[in-house]
C-alpha cells in the first residue's frame, strides 16, 4: 500500500531533517546541545552600547565586540572559564540566597510544569528545575565535594563553551516572573538563578541589545528611549492637547519643579507609545481632578529599570536616580505609575541597595489624609494604592457608563502581584469604573501567567518565542473573551501594555489592552468639562 504506516509517518515527523525540538529525547538533557537560529534568540548587544556602559562609573560590561550566537566562535576572552568560575564563587559568597538555592532543591518537580516557557514549548530545559540545574551542575562540579568526586553521577558537569551557550539560550527564555517559586516548597526563586546566569554571562560580554540599549539610554538621559528633556516635555504637552480636544479641560503639568509635594515617576513608554499614552492621559486627568501638587521629572523620566535584567550594580544605579531626583527637587514623597519592574526593584531590592530614603517623608495623601505606612521605608506609593484610597474616601466623581464600550478583564503583572503583593487595589478600582470579569483562578493573582515577554524579552526578532511563552496567558483571555465577551485586557504594567498588545494581535485579535488608569480617566467626571459622547473613551478620534 502506498500510504506510509503510522510508524513511518511518525519517524518522518519526529526525526525529519529540519527537526528542532520535535523529538522525544533519547539522550540525557546534558547531552543535547543548543542550536541557535534566527527567531530563537534575541540579538546581541551592539558594540558601542556595551562600550558606553563599560565606561560608566560603577558599571562593568567588558568584552564589547561584534558577535553572533549563530557563530561557533563567540569571541569570548581567553580566560573566560576562569572569569565565570570566579564570578560564581564571588556571588556564592555575596548572596546567601544563591548558595541556598544551589543546595536545597530536592528535585520534587513541583515547579516543573508551572513555567509558561515550558507550557508553550514542551522543552524540558524550560522546566524551572532544569533551568536552575544548568547552573547547579557547574556549581556541583566546582564547589561541592560530591560533585568533585562523583562528577556526572552527582549531577555535576564541567563548565564548557557548550554549557555557556546553553546558559545564554535558557536564561533568555525565562522572564524572571517567579511563578515557579510560588509552587516550590522550599521557596527557591528560579528568577534569581536566572539573574545570576545573566550576570555571569555579562562578565564575558554575552548580553542582548534589547536590554543593554535601554539600560544605557536610561543611564545617559534618564529613560529607555534616550529622550532629551525637551522631547519628554513636548510629548506630555502633546497629550494635554489631546485631553483638551476630548474633554475641554486644559491641563498644564509642571516639570522638574522644585518644592512640589509629590514627584511622579512612570515608565517612559506611557508617554511615548500606544496604548500607554492613554494611561498617561488618565494620570493627567486624575491629578487634575484632585488638584495634586506634583511634578514630572525629565531626568527621572523612566520608572522601568532594565538594570534588573543585567546585574545588580546597574539595577542599583538606575534605581538611585529616582531618589537623587526626589532629593534634588525637595519633594515629600514619590508617586509611581503603572510599571512592573520599577516596583519589583523598589519592593525587593531598593532598601538593601539604596535605602532607606530618610530624606523623604512617609507618604500621606494630601487629599484623604491617609498615611501609607506600607511605604514607610521606600517613600513611594503605587498609583493603584493612591487611586483606590481616593475612591474609598469618595474623592472622585466617576461615571461607569462612560466605559460601557468596554468589557474588561484584569491581568496581574508578575512584578506587582508576586513581587509586591498588589492584588486587590486594581480590582477595587475596576469595580468602580468598569464592568469586568476575572480570568480562571489558576491564571490570576499570585498564580498569574506572565505576558511571556518580560525581563527585556519584548523584542520583535523573537516574536515566535514570545507567542509560545504567552500562550498560557492568551489562552485564559480567550476563555473570558468567548464566555463573557471580554474586549479589553487591563493591567498595571507598561511592558504588559506593549507585549500583551502583540500577544492579543496574534491569539485574540478582538481584545485590546489598556492600563487601569486609562479606564479611570475614561470614567472621571471633571468640573468644567465640555465632553461630548466619547464612544471609545480617551481613544476616541475626533
Amino acid at each position: 500500500m502506498a500510504v506510509p504506516k503510522l510508524e513511518q509517518l511518525s519517524k518522518s515527523v519526529v526525526q525529519g531533517p529540519s527537526l528542532a525540538t520535535g523529538a522525544i529525547p533519547t539522550k540525557d538533557w546534558m547531552d543535547i546541545p543548543v542550536h541557535f537560529h534566527e527567531g530563537n534568540y534575541a540579538y546581541p548587544a551592539k558594540k558601542e552600547k556595551v562600550e558606553y556602559l563599560n565606561s560608566q562609573k560603577g558599571l562593568f560590561f567588558p568584552n564589547a565586540r561584534e558577535w553572533s550566537p549563530e557563530d561557533d566562535d563567540w569571541k569570548l576572552p581567553e580566560n573566560w572559564k576562569e572569569i565565570i568560575l570566579n564570578g560564581l564563587k564571588e556571588r556564592l559568597d555575596k548572596f546567601r540566597s544563591l548558595k541556598i538555592f544551589m543546595d536545597c532543591c530536592v528535585r520534587c518537580g513541583a515547579c516543573a510544569d508551572k513555567c509558561h516557557f515550558f507550557l508553550g514549548t514542551g522543552d524540558p530545559k524550560n522546566m524551572p528545575v532544569l533551568r536552575a540545574e544548568l547552573l547547579r551542575s557547574v556549581y556541583r562540579n566546582d564547589f561541592t565535594l560530591a560533585g568533585k568526586i562523583l562528577g556526572r553521577m552527582a549531577g555535576a558537569r564541567e563548565m564548557t563553551v557548550g554549557v555557556l551557550k546553553e546558559w545564554f539560550m535558557y536564561s533568555y527564555q525565562c522572564t524572571e516572573c517567579r511563578r515557579c517559586s510560588v509552587f516550590c516548597p522550599y521557596g527557591i526563586d528560579t528568577a534569581e538563578v536566572t539573574m545570576m546566569l545573566r550576570e555571569l554571562l555579562h562578565l564575558v560580554g554575552v548580553g542582548i541589545n534589547w536590554i543593554l540599549e535601554p539600560a544605557s539610554n536610561s543611564n545617559r538621559t534618564g529613560n529607555h528611549m534616550g529622550l532629551q528633556p525637551h522631547t519628554f516635555k513636548d510629548n506630555v504637552d502633546f497629550l494635554t492637547d489631546d485631553i483638551e480636544n476630548l474633554t475641554g479641560i486644559r491641563i498644564t503639568p509642571t516639570f522638574n519643579r522644585k518644592g512640589a509635594e509629590v514627584l511622579f515617576i512612570t515608565p517612559s513608554a506611557d508617554v511615548f507609545a500606544e496604548p500607554g499614552l492613554y494611561t498617561a492621559m488618565g494620570y493627567l486627568l486624575l491629578f487634575e481632578a484632585i488638584g495634586l501638587d506634583y511634578t514630572w521629572s525629565t531626568y527621572a523620566s523612566e520608572g522601568g529599570n532594565f538594570g534588573l535584567f543585567t546585574n545588580n550594580e546597574t539595577m542599583k544605579k538606575l534605581n538611585a536616580k529616582m531618589y537623587a531626583e526626589a532629593k534634588r527637587l525637595g519633594v515629600k514623597w514619590i508617586l509611581g505609575g503603572e510599571c512592573g519592574h520599577m516596583w519589583r526593584v523598589l519592593h525587593q531590592y531598593m532598601d538593601t541597595m539604596n535605602g532607606p530614603a530618610d530624606f523623604l517623608e512617609i507618604p500621606k495623601s494630601p487629599i484623604t489624609g491617609t498615611v501609607f505606612d506600607n511605604a514607610a521605608s521606600t517613600k513611594m506609593v503605587h498609583i493603584s494604592e493612591f487611586t483606590a484610597d481616593l475612591i474609598k474616601n469618595g474623592k472622585l466623581k466617576l461615571d461607569k457608563s462612560r466605559n460601557s464600550h468596554v468589557k474588561a478583564t484584569f491581568h496581574d503583572s508578575c512584578n506587582t502581584s508576586r513581587a509586591m503583593g498588589l492584588l486587590d487595589e486594581p480590582r477595587y478600582i475596576l469595580d468602580h469604573v468598569v464592568d469586568w470579569v476575572e480570568m480562571p483562578e489558576n491564571t490570576i493573582r499570585e498564580q498569574t501567567f506572565c505576558c511571556g515577554s518580560g525581563t527585556g524579552l519584548n523584542t520583535d526578532e523573537i516574536m515566535e518565542l514570545r507567542m509560545r511563552s504567552g500562550l498560557p496567558r492568551a489562552n485564559a483571555v480567550k476563555y473570558v473573551h468567548e464566555k463573557h465577551d471580554v474586549n479589553m485586557l487591563s493591567c498595571v504594567c507598561a511592558i504588559d501594555r506593549a507585549t500583551l498588545t502583540s500577544l492579543m494581535n496574534y491569539w485574540n485579535p478582538d481584545v485590546r489592552v489598556c492600563g487601569v488608569t486609562e479606564l479611570v480617566g475614561n470614567a472621571l467626571v471633571l468640573e468644567g468639562e465640555t465632553r461630548g459622547e466619547l464612544d471609545d473613551g480617551l481613544r476616541t478620534m475626533l
Binding site: T121, N235, E274, D460
Partner: protein
Amino acid sequence: MDLAEAFRNYKAKIVDRWVDYTLSTYQSSSFFKKEGDVFANPVGGTIREALKKLFVLLSRGATTEEMIAPLEQIMKIRSIQEFSPSQAVAPLNAVKHITREILAADKERCHLVADLYDFEFAVDLAVLAAFDIYMQCRERLYQTRIREIKTGSHILTDSACPSASLKNKIVQESIPKVESI
C-alpha cells in the same frame, strides 16, 4: 454493524491514541498528556479538545468549513512552535492509520476497513485546510511583528525622534488590522 457505529464505539480509543501521538511530538510530553485542566496545560488541553471535535466531524464526513474551527485551535499553536510545516501538520494525518489499526484489530469489524474511503478523504481535506491555516497563522505572526514595529513599541530603543512618530499617529492608525482568521 456499520461504520458509523464502529466510529461511535471506538471514538474514545481513537481520539486518545490520536492525542497521544500528536503530543508525542513535544520533547517532554508526559505533562501535556496527563494534565486535564486546559488553563494549566494549554497545549495538551487545547489539542485534546480540538481533536475530539475534529474526529466527530471527520467521521460524519463534514465539510472543510465545519472543520476550520478545531483545525485553527491546533494550527495556531503548532505554527508558532519549533516545527517545520510538515511536522506541524503531520499528526492530523495519523488518525487515518490509527483508525485502520484499531478497526483491523477487531475481528468483527475488520471488514469495515474497506469502507474507510470517505473518512480518509475527509482527513485529506482537513490536512489540506490545515496547511492553509498554518500559512495564515505565520502571516499573522509577521503582521503582529510589523505592527509592533510600526506602532511605536520599537521606539523603546530604536527611534531617533519619538515625538515625530506621534505626530504620524494617523499613519500608524491606518495600518490594516490583522484580520481574524
